[in-house]
Amino acid sequence: MSSINVPPEAQFRGRGRLARWLVALLILALTIQFFRIQILKHTTYALRSDENRIRELPIPAPRGTIYDRNGLVIVENVPGYSIAVLPLSVDSLRVVLDTLASILGHSTEKVERLMDNYRQHPNRPVTVESDASFAEVSIIEERRAVLPGGIVIEAAPKRHYLMGDTLAHVLGYVGEIGDSELELAEFEGYEPGRTIGQTGIERVYERVLAGTPGIRFVEVNALGRLVGEFRGRQTEPAVPGRDLVLNVDLELQRRAAELFPDTMAGAVVALEPRTGAVLAMYSAPSFDPNVFIGRFEPAEWRALNTDPGRPLFNRAISAGYAPGSTFKLVLAGIAMSLGEASRETEMRIPCRGALQYYSRVFHDWTPAGHGVLDLSGAIRESCDVYFYQLGIKLTLNRVLEEVPNFGFGTPTGIDLPSELSGIFPPDTAWYTRRYGRRGWTNSVVLNLAIGQGENVQSPLKMAQYFSALAADGTLPVPRVSRDGPVSEPGFELPLSDEQLAVLRSALVDVVNSETGTARGSRLRRWTLAGKTGTSQNPHGDDHAWFVGFAPAEDPRIVIAMIVENGGHGSSAAAPIVSRLIDFYLERQSVEGLTAEAAGR
């Protein structure tokens, strides 16, 4: 073993061989390691090399334009800029965001929110500002050399609502998708930073309007700076959203907004009775949806949200009011359908301004009373005493049973979100649950009979019911969009054509007869029919109703209007509805004549 006496040269030989084998062994070991990395794990590392340098930038798809029924543009896109960051790491992103915050005026909360976005989706670009001004973009471009890498500025079409607050509630508005929305099935496949319809038509027809964003593949260097397009993968172009044509008549809508009393709250809904097409829908007070677009000040949002007038609330479909005397048409309909009344039916007790029912006295709206009236006259003069007795005659149980057959208690099915389905007691047990066994009596039917009490309906619902009266007894499904999904067949009222004619002629009398409650609102050229109503309001002045349609012979428009705290329907609501209907029909006839002339 000892090498002491081995001659030097032989000794080198033995050790040399060992050293050469060591070289071979080491080179082999290295080669094996390279083989593992370059060949066996090639796919993994190739992918990582791509992930290192290739970023997917979304190309925003322009949303579809929205038109009114006459082809006027209501909502369009205007050029805008978005600012995104391609982050390298949490730390580098923070540096970029802090720098940008000073240029864009972002709050620390906003920066934190963006940081959270990044932590959840580290491989996606972080949209810092979806609506940057030209000035801000210029500043960033000027300072690009000194700013941290990874800032991307891109053209991003932004929404512009040409009508401002005129059509706000119907259209809704768009905004960045929220965390909770990302989890909804409705928004499957959506990514953070996407702009979505938040409410209104924008929300309901999101899938139509939105289109599909494209993807651009870009190459970044180790500093996160954009080097250029990545040629290895084809850009997937954005598919623009489809346009949408609404049933809304912009001129009528504008008129409705103008005519609505400035300081008052309430709503107007105009329908085409046969089709359910929503010709106009206005809720007051309104708001300008443009404030929600892009740069969005939390203060403005708070102001809109905490405004006691609740401007974001669509009163036309989401607010509930006691329908008041407009509901007498439902009672009359029930009575006729059950054979309990016809046009000539008179009540036992003539109207002397009040009716005593057991120990309680129920007043008529006029202390003078209406004397002896038939059903038609009771509608015309809106006689409460007549309808008290009709309610007693029908009995509470039958009223509760029949009202749903006239379409109440179910939503109309309009293509807008957050519709109120209406409240009407389903049975007497409901009263017991609510007030206790001894907390109520059958006298509730007297209140129900004149549209007061436990009855809450939206203006849209009343418009839908009157559409059925105006047309052929079919409750149309209201449609804002002309191109929306085909609506289910409407709900049929259990009334014969003759019975409908009785109700219609009574409604004509309301406006056109000497003793009608809305006599002041009659029109020279058209036969306006309708019904006034007063919704009793324990918190203040009563709400004023009017639901009318014209021309009575062949109704082409139904308008329901409520003015909160407006007092009587005859003075606060009927004159406005009358002018709107006149405006609409006049324009239609002019257009008809023009079309006729052009056709010839």
Partner: protein
């Protein structure tokens, strides 16, 4: 007639391969500068090409030096090297370790020269004794000669370069014919150093050493010295660890766990592996490596030049370069084996160890087999003084080859 050729370049295979690798190195350094972002590396290949010309001239000159004369000049060279290292500590520059001496535009690393000088001195020590050492105590001059530059370079601090001196020392002892048992005992404290981080492992190692000493019936004083050295290494390792510069600690930790901090210390290693791994069989093509182009790969012209080779020429390119190195090293050992003169033979083997250490440390680091030490790859990495010393070393080997041929 071959005898009429006066200019003999020695082993033509080694020369051709080294020249080939060096030219390939210039090409790779050119590629390293081809980036998407402005880089200081761009255009640096011309400097390397200039250094290559200088190195070839130096090679031609050095080839005329007789080995005897080299033996004679050895002590002064060593002293000069040590003075250089001291000078670096006093006035050196560099980010990270201070290893540079600057004369205007030209920088020089005395540590490179020190490697060669140390090899020469150790070879003289080997030649000075007729037979290999009986006792470990006889080895003290070897240890001192290697330790002086080792400690001076540790003080820069440049752990990787310092470690090369240990490799050279071990190689010289191995070549001196020291019995494997004794060689093991000499190396044992270094193993203790590595194992000291795990007390049970270190304990087992210590027991093995003791058992080994007992079985080989070593001298008592020698045994005590070995055990004490092992114990000392085990004990001092923690204070030494603390005394390391932060970047060194971070590099070692990153080697052990690169994914723990992928954006920080593990970055180099991960990006190097991604570059190499994404190269596949044939690579992405000359100058087209994306990891390099987009600056994901750090130190692409020096420490990680081999990762550029891997990314742009793939596994096939890697195998060719490794084969070239294998042939060069293999043939140097053959030259060392066949040289009867102990001094000459040991110098050749020392240069072999020097290049092998650099090759394995550099290539091993690019694929995560070894910690990142910053040792350049011979002939390929950018660096003038390293190239120059490598070519001078080559000249010595070629001279031996030709002397042996003509003399033998």
């Amino acid at each position: 007639m071959k005898e009429k050729v006066h200019f003999n370049i020695g082993d033509p295979v080694i020369f051709a391969l080294v020249l080939g690798l060096s030219l390939f190195g210039v090409a790779m350094i050119y590629s390293a500068g081809e980036m998407e972002i402005p880089s200081q590396v761009t255009g640096i290949w011309m400097k390397q090409a200039t250094w290559l010309v200088i190195s070839i001239v130096a090679f031609a000159l050095a080839l005329r030096i007789e080995i005897r004369w080299l033996e004679w000049v050895t002590p002064s060279a060593y002293v000069l090297a040590i003075l250089g290292l001291l000078l670096v500590l006093a006035v050196g520059s560099g980010d990270g370790p201070r290893s540079w001496l600057r004369f205007g535009a030209i920088g020089f690393q005395p540590s490179e020269f020190a490697k060669l000088a140390t090899i020469l001195v150790l070879a003289r020590l080997v030649a000075a004794r007729e037979r290999s050492a009986d006792s470990l105590w006889e080895l003290w001059p070897f240890v001192v000669v290697a330790s002086v530059p080792f400690l001076l370079i540790m003080a820069e601090p440049d752990l990787g370069t310092a470690a090369v001196f240990i490799a050279i020392l071990i190689a010289a002892l191995y070549w001196s014919g020291l019995s494997m048992a004794k060689l093991l005992l000499v190396v044992s404290p270094i193993v203790s150093l590595a194992l000291a981080f795990s007390t049970p492992l270190w304990g087992v190692w210590l027991l093995l050493i003791v058992a080994f000493l007992y079985r080989t019936r070593s001298y008592l004083s020698e045994s005590i010295a070995v055990v004490l050295a092992n114990v000392a290494m085990g004990v001092v390792v923690l204070p030494v660890w603390r005394s390391l510069a932060t970047y060194q600690q971070v590099r070692i930790l990153a080697f052990l766990q690169p994914e723990a901090d992928p954006r920080g210390a593990g970055w180099h290693l991960i990006q190097s592996q991604v570059a190499i791994g994404s190269g596949g069989w044939t690579g992405k093509g000359f100058t087209l490596g994306t990891q390099k182009r987009l600056a994901f790969l750090p130190e692409q012209h020096t420490d990680f030049i081999f990762a550029v080779v891997g990314e742009e020429f793939g596994f096939l390119g890697i195998v060719l370069v490794l084969l070239a190195f294998a042939v060069i090293l293999w043939r140097i050992v053959l030259i060392a084996e066949r040289t009867e003169d102990r001094f000459t033979s040991t110098v050749a083997f020392g240069i072999f160890a020097f290049w092998l250490a650099h090759l394995v440390a550099n290539v091993g680091m690019t694929v995560g087999l070894l910690p990142i030490t910053g040792l350049p790859l011979p002939f390929l990495s950018y660096g003038g003084s390293f190239l120059l010393i490598s070519f001078v070393s080559l000249a010595i080997i070629q001279r031996m080859a030709s002397e042996r041929r003509s003399g033998g």
